[in-house]
Amino acid sequence: MLNTKSPATEARDNLISQKVATLPPSGIRKFFDLLSSVEDVISLSIGEPDFVTPWHIREAGIYSLEKGYTMYTSNSGMPELRQELASYLELHYGVSYHPEHEILITTGSSEGLDLVLRAIINPGDEVIIPNPCYVAYPADIILAGGVPIIVPTNEETNFVIRATDIEARITKQTKAILIGYPANPTGAVMSKKEADAIADLAKKHDLLVISDEIYARLVYGVEHICFPSLPGMKKRTILISGFSKSHAMTGWRIGYVAADHRFIQALTKIHQYTMLCAPTMTQMAAIEALRNGENDVEKMVQEYNRRRRFMVKRLNEIGLPCFEPKGAFFAFPSIKATRMNSEDFAEKLLLEEKVAVVPGLAFGPCGEGFVRCCYATSLPNIEEALRRMDRFVRKSRLRSE
């Protein structure tokens, strides 16, 4: 009957570590159960591409199995893949990493983030993060023994973390700033000016910057600022990214970390004891993605952009004001006009109109008053979802009057 105990009891009994027992469950998880109980839902709550991995990349994966590439690779990842990645980062962002010492292939960027935090955090170290933010940031920091320090962002700052707000929270315990732009859940991107200010701050206070750039390729009408490419920042930035969003490869679990060799060495130490290496088949597919996948990326970005414009325009029209998201595949409209909190809004919308969005609160307290709508779904789906949301908003306005 172990599983009937409350988290607090479990912690007391020391069966589950206190850290894990007290870790709040993901706000998304809670919504998942409710969602599963409703049929025929149009889901705008999926955080992954609706495109299937391009065929030539899948074919490369199949070929690797056919040829019997079923053994471990080097801990750091296949040399060819690291070489391709080094060229890719140089080509796209003008930042050069040594393929042997400065790149580690991971099982998704999620593993990368976990490794980085475990490698740099001493108990009690503080890591500054924006809020709202990706659900794993605070959790992973806590699991690594650190303390997440939240910096609120809002519409006024276009949901970008500001250097001045960071500086106000720097203490002797501050170890790093963890940022992720383009951002999940807001779709915000960081401008050169904003990035420069954070870079200056990091130098001034001798801080590390962990830059999660998983959505780097999904930007619309702006250039992505690759943080380590800023002057003097390569040696104090740890770049985390992967193939999930750029090449629609979420289920393959393949990512990478690029950083100064001191960091990569430390990360590899943990990686070799815990993961050994990223799946071989997946690494072979990733090589193909880098060698011949540029057209796919461009096509997908163009398609996302059309849907993005459509969704943002409609959200504003139906009275859910939405700042313009210039990256990722999310819109983050304000629902304050409906006088509902984000969880009530999402729940009622799901039950009454069968449209799923993610309550902003799932991404931290500053996400309250907003919902995340993902436009990585077909245009007819987006159209129909917004028609239903329109009806829902009008109904709820009548109710509250």
Partner: protein, 160 residues
């Protein structure tokens, strides 16, 4: 501008209003471009791709390889025109390789196609020979696949 046509190529029923939002251009400009394209033949026609086998009323189709003798002054164009004007001819291409014209022919039954070949195509003076391949199954046309399930939901309903 090219983007407007790409959208229409994917979905001919996209309205000027929808397209205008997708490409971030005023509706009037989009309408003007489409109108002009319809006029100058950039947009030939708006059609539906029908999955005929689904209606169990499939016509018979054949792909015919035709070897022809080109003519002085007009090359392959004159004979191609002679051939493609027949209503049985669905599409016609000049190709490189061991034959010259590749034509797709549509008929109600096998009889109709064989009489087209025997009575119309083969007797033409410039036609040296032809090889007829009857279509057995259609997998993909105009970039659309016929046999894959259209929208299978492989994704979880909510992911972070």
């Amino acid at each position: 501008m090219k983007e407007i046509f790409e959208i229409l190529e994917q979905n001919a029923r996209a309205t000027p209003e929808q397209i205008s939002t997708m490409v971030d251009k005023p509706v009037s400009a989009v309408k003007k471009i489409i109108k002009q394209a319809e006029k100058d033949g950039t947009i030939l026609k708006y059609k539906a791709i029908i999955n005929w086998p689904k209606l169990e009323k499939e016509d018979i189709w054949a792909l015919i390889e035709v070897r022809v003798t080109p003519q002085r002054g007009v090359g392959f164009d004159a004979i191609a025109e002679r051939i493609y004007q027949f209503p049985e001819v669905y599409s016609a291409y000049l190709v490189s390789g061991t034959y010259d014209l590749s034509i797709l022919v549509r008929g109600k039954n096998m009889q109709e196609i064989s009489s087209f070949v025997a009575e119309k195509l083969a007797p033409l003076e410039q036609v040296q020979s032809s090889v007829t391949h009857f279509l057995l199954k259609r997998y993909k046309e105009y970039g659309e696949t016929f046999h894959l399930p259209k929208e299978t939901n492989r994704r979880l309903p909510i992911t972070p």
